[in-house]
């Protein structure tokens, strides 16, 4: 393992911000830590970088314990959330900084800086002032600067957090390609699930300093470990249920569940795509309270007529009923997950 955290714990004023976290990152792997703000994900990066001492537990790089190794000797790169470019240096000076610290002679530095700027899509920008860069350009310079000293592990803190949506989507693809090409090992943190799923080989969901779930994007998306993960991923159709065999008792009536689901009293998730709208005299009778346009589909907000928690359904634009319409609801067993 390139990076291992063993029971890593950090406390701020007695409160654990990082609570006995175990995490392994293999060589060439891209791991994305996902969590709401305050879940401890930035602290995790700072602990690995050596900027935040551990209260207990260990950080190992290439199997070697990093206790007592200062930040500048760990050989890891960190790209800060708001980039933290050096304001008094130009673009080239920023990118070359790490190379200078590692004693690369000037000639080699200049060539390297040119290559890196080309790599991040800013060829010939070495002489530009940092203050004059747009947000996206700053992000690229920060990336080039972090890559320059060839860190064995590159860490990214909310790498695309401050950029606008279209730029973010484009850069996610570019980063993914770039890391694949360079074979870089990456540990990134973000609160944006779309970013995490697009970027990572493996997603780690954090909650209150602990790891709530770890798996490939597909696994996490399809089988959220618990109600917290499901809600964090944006699923709101979560209700308490009692599961027996392949049926579950819920406030929405009796719902089918997949074979082999865990039994007993558990939360149950119905993905919006599994909420089918039918004629008003069939299934669970509901009133449409609102609909929101989502581009590829429409989210229809439903209130069951006989009470019970509200529901969200995803449907095609032309099928979407108006607010106030009376509809029936049926559930698709393929989109139902019994949570842990």
């Amino acid at each position: 393992m390139l990076l291992s955290l063993a029971a890593a714990t950090v406390r701020f004023g007695g409160r654990p911000v990082l609570d006995t976290v175990d995490l392994d990152v293999a060589e060439h792997e891209v791991v994305c830590v996902l969590g709401p703000s305050g879940s401890g994900k930035s602290t995790l990066l700072r602990a690995v970088a050596g900027l935040q001492p551990l209260d207990s537990g260990r950080v190992l790089l290439d199997g070697r314990d990093q206790a007592g190794v200062p930040a500048h000797r760990r050989g890891v790169g960190l790209m800060f959330q708001d980039h933290q470019l050096f304001p008094q240096r130009d673009v080239g000076g920023n990118v070359a900084f790490g190379l200078r610290m590692h004693g690369v002679p000037k000639g080699g530095r200049d060539a390297e800086v040119g290559q890196l700027l080309e790599l991040v899509g800013l060829p010939g920008a070495a002489g530009r002032a940092v203050a004059g860069l747009s947000g996206g350009e700053q992000q690229r310079v920060a990336l080039a600067r972090a890559l320059a000293p060839r860190p064995r592990l590159l860490m990214l803190d909310e790498p695309l957090g401050q950029l606008d949506r279209s730029l973010r989507e484009r850069l996610v693809v570019e980063l993914r390609e770039l890391f694949g090409r360079l074979g870089t090992t990456v540990l990134a943190v973000t609160h944006d699930q779309g970013e995490a799923f697009a970027l990572a080989d493996r997603v780690v969901v954090m909650r209150d300093g602990r790891i709530a779930q770890s798996g490939t994007p597909l696994e996490v998306w399809q089988r959220p470990a618990d109600e917290f993960v499901a809600r964090f991923l944006g699923f709101d159709n979560v209700v308490p249920a009692t599961v027996a065999d392949t049926a579950a008792d819920t406030p929405w009536g009796k719902l089918p569940v997949p074979d082999g689901s865990p039994q007993g009293g558990r939360p149950l998730l119905v993905r919006p795509a599994g909420v089918r709208l039918v004629a008003s005299d069939e299934g669970l009778p509901c009133t449409v309270t609102a609909r929101t346009f989502k581009g590829t589909h429409v989210t229809v907000h439903l209130r069951p007529r006989d009470g019970g928690p509200r529901l969200e359904a995803a449907c095609a634009l032309r099928d979407a009923p108006e607010a106030g319409a009376e509809v029936g609801v049926e559930f698709d067993v393929a989109e139902i997950v019994v949570l842990g």
């Binding site: 200062p70 930040a71 500048h72 790169g77 960190l78 933290q84 008094q88 900084f97 790490g98 610290m101």
Partner: protein, 533 residues
């Protein structure tokens, strides 16, 4: 950290303690009864009373005249604003001796007002009050105006949108935000005027005497050391109290204000009210700040063919062992040495104080560093003479004594200027450098130093100006054959005759030009984040 602490212990705490002990210890026994005796003497009580009320009056008058200017400089945009801001600051770095001399030339015997209308103010308290306003105008404009320019006007606009009238919005939103800055500025002015020495020494005549002047008189003329020691303690306590309140207001000011770039808050004056205010401020500056300096220059040129200036090159006047002009070089040499010491000591102290993990003890030291600003410079000077006179530290014959005393007064300015800038350096920039492989020393050199270089230069400039103008301590320890400029001016003024008077004017003009030149260079370097002065 150890070096600044040692410096202040050896060159500040010890001399002050030594002189207090010398005054209050008779045959090895402390005579605390002396304290009650001294402070109940009618003439001493008169001095205490005068010191306090003239400081209060000076502060009130300064606020009255300078607050409109703070508004004008913060919120109005007019041609020449930058230059005028520099002009306003010149008096603050001028030596008190020059200020005194300039007002003497304006309102004193044979001064401009005397010539024109036969009006003389040098026998009244007004001369002192006006000189204090002249001197401290910039403190209020800088401290209050600096914050005012950075207050977000949208806060006031938000209050207007919620139904407040213009006046009410100002009173409820802007005024509370400004209040701590006004209080801090008022306390600084009170501190400077409470401990005023040079101005009162020159303009006060026999009638008016502040604590500091009285301490000087008791030590150097009456040779009553115990009275001087008691007065020093009284001043020490008063200054300590003022500084404690000041530290408290500063801390309040540092919290919870959203600040914006001052460039975006100023706009062209609109309406009769704003134009009238601008005109009023300009007239005040012309009459109060520019006129005395102009008169000073004019008086110095009063003799045909630069006579007074040429007389300065002549050692035959008998006032000194050397030509008065020699004092210029002495002063410059001392000031350079003092600046180096002040920047070293103050810079180290500021760096230690700026660390995020600086504890309560450190913050206490922060306040202590301000003490030399207020504690009787006369005491420090005299304390130097009696405490640094035996091995291992016998510096009486050493030229370094004067720069050391001056550095003591300059170091607090360095700390005050550097500290906000050092604290404003984003800690994550340092972390970014560390992660890229920079060792702690490298981080300081590559990240901190480039960011604070300007502040460092400004701090050095202030220390230089303060050293040039230092009078209270230098007057004791400067050797007769090596007077500094302020000492030479004071000595010339104390002698009768037109030639001495004219030479004092000429020497003051030279000192003013040097200080003003240093300041104008600084003004070009100034950033908006640099400190309170």
């Amino acid at each position: 950290m150890a070096l600044p602490v040692a410096f202040f212990a050896v060159f500040f705490a010890w001399p002050v303690a030594a002189i207090v002990a010398r005054g209050l210890k008779v045959d090895g026994v402390w005579q605390f009864g002396r304290m009650a005796d001294v402070v109940t003497q009618p003439d001493i009580r008169h001095v205490l009373w005068f010191t306090t009320w003239q400081a209060l009056a000076s502060t009130a008058l300064t606020l009255l005249l300078a607050l409109p200017a703070a508004y004008v400089f913060a919120r109005l945009d007019f041609p020449g604003r930058q230059l005028l801001r520099a002009v306003v600051t010149v008096p603050f770095v001028l030596p008190t001796v020059v200020v005194g001399t300039a007002f003497l030339a304006l309102v004193g015997r044979g001064g401009l007002l005397d010539d024109l209308w036969g009006v003389r103010l040098d026998t009244t308290v007004w001369a002192i009050l006006l000189a204090h306003v002249f001197f401290n105008y910039a403190v209020v404009v800088r401290t209050v105006g600096g914050l005012w320019a950075q207050l977000d006007p949208r806060q006031e606009q938000a209050a207007r949108m919620l139904g407040a009238s213009a006046l009410r919005a100002w009173r409820k939103v802007t005024l509370p935000a400004l209040a701590p800055a006004v209080a801090a500025a008022a306390l600084m002015v009170f501190l400077f005027t409470f401990t005023s020495f040079g101005v009162v020494q020159i303009l006060g005549g026999p009638t008016f005497s502040t604590l500091e002047v009285e301490i000087y008189r008791q030590t150097s003329e009456v040779f009553d050391l115990s009275t001087a020691a008691v007065l020093t303690l009284v001043q020490f306590v008063a200054v300590g109290a003022i500084l404690a309140v000041h530290a408290w207001t500063v801390r309040r000011r540092e919290t919870a204000l959203r600040l914006v770039d001052p460039k975006v808050t100023a706009r062209r004056p609109r309406g009769a009210g704003q134009w009238a205010l601008l005109a009023g401020v300009l007239v005040t500056i012309a009459l109060l700040l520019v006129l005395p300096l102009a008169v000073l220059v004019q008086r110095s040129l009063d003799a045909p063919g630069f006579g007074y200036y040429r007389a300065l090159t002549d050692a035959d006047g008998g006032t000194f062992l050397v030509a008065p002009l020699h004092a210029v070089w002495t002063s410059l040499e001392y000031a350079v040495a003092a600046t180096a010491v002040a920047v070293l000591i103050g810079g180290l102290a500021a760096a230690a104080l700026a660390r995020r993990d600086a504890g309560r003890l450190m913050r206490g030291f922060d306040a202590l560093l301000m003490l030399p600003l207020g504690v009787s410079a006369v005491t420090v000077g005299f304390g130097f003479l009696i405490s640094l006179d035996k091995p291992p530290l016998d510096l009486r014959q050493s030229w370094i004594l004067v720069p050391l005393a001056q550095a003591l007064v300059g170091a607090p300015f360095v700390v005050r200027t550097m500290l906000p800038v050092l604290r404003a350096v984003d800690g994550r920039l340092r972390e970014a450098a560390a992660v890229l492989g920079a060792s702690p020393w490298r981080v300081w050199r590559e990240v901190d130093l480039p960011l604070v270089r300007r502040a460092l230069l400004i701090a050095a400039g202030f220390a230089f100006a303060v050293s040039l103008g230092e009078f209270g301590a230098t007057v004791f320890i400067a050797r007769p054959d090596n007077p500094t400029l302020p000492v030479a001016v004071a000595r010339l003024l104390s002698r009768p005759g037109d030639l001495n008077y004219g030479q004092a004017m000429a020497l003051s003009t030279i000192l003013m030009v040097v200080c003003a030149a240093a300041l104008l260079v600084l003004e070009r370097l100034r950033t908006d984040r640099t400190g309170e002065f």
